[in-house]
């Protein structure tokens, strides 16, 4: 007869389940090895690298304008901001002044991208919690933004719109009109998000007090972006180290002290309002001028190390370039906010239920291709 396990032994055994690489709520090919005790999560071990493409290494073989098209493919939901990180680094290294018009357009595009990204996050988060209708409302409202992008940049998701020194092409003549239309439409529709999900008692019960991360812990773990601001960590690069035109526009840094899933949710909803405010301040006064600065045909960075921080929709993205004076960089490093935000997942979800793990990882808004690069 097989040896009989004592109750004590069974209780000590770990119930391991693999969430992913194919799982509806990991939003991509990430694998979480979750140890369970009944429904309660004891340990989460993330395994990433399933979509590693070696973008940083590929960058070493490309010229600076060519790098842009790879950065879109890291965090495809904030493609413009990723482009901006490289462009700003190169511009900083060369010490060139870009035209005012470019700064205006870049700021507007970044904020539109932030709204689009938060909309997609909202619908995916609603779906993680089981509210399937959210998914369609979010995608529906994202569509006008993608149309605006398509009209000006020629693509919907992966635009490659910024180049070192300026933009790929000028904005479409209808751009301002379309953006204003969208803002008008979205100001009316955003309260609907609150009615459908934010105010819902089930939603509040499922997010309030779930996945709490204190401010100290958030700083220690480098949690940035809306997730960090949900813990009260004032980490908005747009305020701390302004780039583009963020020092000239008036906007609030959304901070919540609770540090739970609901706080992270509220930060993103508030950021959509703030982004609309920023766009409204800029859209009417885009100055006339060139859409790109005069650049040499072959861009060569001076020898040295250069870096630039930008605030993507998920947190702080740092582009770090080491140059040896050639037209190719010697080494490129991207500090992906997703990879570093993922590090907090284990701490947040410990001793919560498996359904909460889904909510918490949803509230971190992870984009797996950016994590793995």
């Amino acid at each position: 007869m097989a040896e009989i396990l004592e109750v004590k032994d069974i209780a000590q055994q770990e119930y391991l389940i693999n969430m992913g690489p194919q799982h509806p709520s990991t939003h991509g090919v990430m694998r979480l090895v979750v140890s369970l005790n009944g429904e309660i999560v004891k340990n989460v071990q993330p395994h990433c690298g399933y979509i590693h493409r070696g973008i940083e290494k590929m960058c070493e073989k490309l010229t600076y304008p060519q790098i842009i098209h790879l950065t879109d493919r890291m965090d495809y939901l904030s493609a413009h901001m990723n482009n901006a990180s490289v462009c700003l680094t190169v511009e900083k290294a060369l010490g060139i002044e870009i035209p005012e018009r470019v700064k205006y357009i870049r700021t507007i595009m970044d904020e539109l991208q932030r709204i689009a990204s938060h909309q997609l996050w909202w619908c995916a988060f609603g779906m993680d919690l089981g509210g399937l209708t959210c998914f369609f409302y979010g995608l529906r409202d994202r569509e006008p933004i993608l149309d605006i992008f398509e009209e000006s940049t020629g693509s919907r998701l992966i635009q490659s719109y910024y180049t070192p020194g300026g933009l790929m092409n000028d904005i479409h003549p209808d751009f301002q009109k379309k953006v204003k239309e969208f803002i008008k439409y979205f100001r009316k529709i955003l309260p609907e998000y609150d009615q459908l999900l934010t105010g819902n008692v089930i939603f509040q019960e499922r997010t309030k007090g779930i996945g709490i991360l204190s401010k100290e812990e958030a700083i220690n773990r480098g949690l940035t972006g809306p997730s960090g601001r949900g813990s009260g960590f004032a980490c908005d690069v747009r305020k701390r180290a302004p780039y583009h035109l963020y020092d000239k526009v008036d906007f609030k840094e959304c901070l919540y002290e609770e540090g739970d899933t609901f706080a992270r949710y509220k930060v993103r909803i508030d950021e959509m309002w703030e982004s609309m405010k920023i766009i409204e301040q800029l859209i009417d006064n885009i100055p006339e001028g060139d859409y790109t600065a005069k650049m040499k045909a072959v861009i060569k960075l001076p020898e040295g190390e250069f870096f630039q921080r930008v605030e993507t929709a998920r947190g702080e993205l740092i582009c770090f370039i080491v140059s040896d004076g050639n037209k190719n960089p010697l080494r490129v490093k991207f500090r992906s906010p997703n990879l570093i935000n993922l590090a907090s997942l284990n701490v947040m979800s410990k001793d919560f239920k498996i359904a909460d793990l889904v909510a918490i990882s949803g509230s971190l808004d992870l984009v797996i291709p950016c994590m793995d690069r």
Partner: protein
């Protein structure tokens, strides 16, 4: 007995079949033939209704989500579900190597047989009633609670960790919500003074129970709606499936027509609870009658009872679909909190209140 058929009263029609059968053959065989006929009729009804409900749910959720829904196969996509059924029939039945073979195969049948059993007691129209028990409500309660066995077996036998979690959730959920369903029905049984479904329907000749019993009846109806949504494992209580957490929960490992059985059973259970709600609270096939308004009552009588019954059932099903496509899913502890801390105490007080109202004669 001469043949007679009326859409307003099926009694003479069913009795004609019964009499002719007993006249033609010995009683034992007549009974067998009757059973077979009823079985075939229910099978056909089951298949058609299942297909229709899947289609209806898709269209309803599509419209709530600003989509068009199925619109390719046939006009308005009407044949879409039939195409899906053919696809499911043709699909491979995957046998899991380490699964408990017998239980794995039996589980879908248990789930579907349970809904079959319960449907026998539903009065569809006057005289259109397979079995008229004197404890009809009790019978439906007893039978419908057996569905959990199928779900538990499915989750346990497929030897999958996700399925096991789903099955255990489902067990906890159905066992606790059974109480609320029962107690809310008992509230009306107190008012009706009978457990026989035909008597309950007849008792609503002058006014439906939801109006007759006013406050406690409305509370009982809301509780029943919530609890029965939970009992049928539908959203926002679809924890056993919980797509974003457990991929597909207890039926992760099922494929082809076995999966279709679970899928169909979900819709049939939904129809079942909707029809019970319609029968017990909204008068079943009884048209809307208001005491004293004779003309109005006559106008209402022109609509055949079978339309009243299906109209009410579909309306309640529509509300349940509305729930599903609006709310996020509950967590397992919240689910149990809702039952034990909210629905059950409310229900107990409600039964007392209804008893008081019946004793004092405060109902209409």
């Amino acid at each position: 007995m001469a043949f007679s058929f009326s859409i307003y009263d099926f009694t003479s029609f069913t009795q004609w079949i019964d009499k002719s059968l007993y006249a033609a053959m010995p009683p034992f065989w007549a009974l067998i033939v009757e059973m077979v006929i009823i079985g075939i009729v229910f099978l056909g009804f089951y298949a058609l209704l299942g297909l229709f409900l899947v289609y209806a749910e898709r269209k309803i959720c599509a419209f709530m989500q600003c989509r068009v829904g199925p619109n390719r196969v046939g006009p308005f996509g009407f044949i879409q579900t039939i195409a899906d059924l053919i696809k499911l029939l043709l699909k491979e039945l995957i046998f899991i190597k380490n699964a408990d073979k017998i239980l794995f195969n039996v589980a879908p049948f248990i789930v579907i047989i349970v809904s079959f059993l319960a449907i026998a007691a539903i009065p569809f129209a006057k005289g259109l009633h397979a079995m008229d028990f004197n404890i009809g409500v009790f019978y439906i309660m007893a039978v419908s609670s057996m569905g959990v066995i199928g779900v538990l077996l499915a989750g346990w036998s497929s030897n999958n960790k996700y399925s096991l979690i789903g099955a255990m959730r489902s067990g906890a959920q159905i066992v606790s919500y059974e109480l609320s369903v029962g107690l809310s029905l008992i509230t009306i049984v107190v008012l009706a003074g009978s457990m026989q479904l035909s008597t309950i329907v007849e008792g609503q000749r002058d006014l439906w129970f939801i109006f007759k019993g006013h406050i406690p009846a409305i509370i009982a109806f809301i509780v029943f709606l919530i609890a029965s949504t939970a009992e049928t494992n539908r959203g926002p209580f679809d924890l056993a499936e919980a797509e974003s957490e457990l991929t597909a929960g207890f039926h992760t490992e099922y494929s082809g027509i076995r999966f279709a059985f679970f899928f169909l059973a979900e819709y049939m259970n939904m129809f079942l609870v909707a029809s019970i709600a319609a029968t017990v609270f909204w008068g079943g096939w009884m048209p809307l009658h208001i005491n004293g308004f004779t003309g109005f009552n006559h106008v209402m009588d022109f609509i055949p009872p079978i339309f009243w019954f299906f109209g009410k059932s579909f309306f309640i099903m529509w509300i349940m679909m509305w729930f599903k496509w609006t709310f996020p899913r509950l967590r397992i502890d919240q689910l149990l909190t809702l039952e034990w801390k909210y629905l059950l105490p409310i229900n107990l007080v409600n039964v007392l209140l209804m008893a008081l109202i019946v004793l004092m004669g405060w109902h209409f």
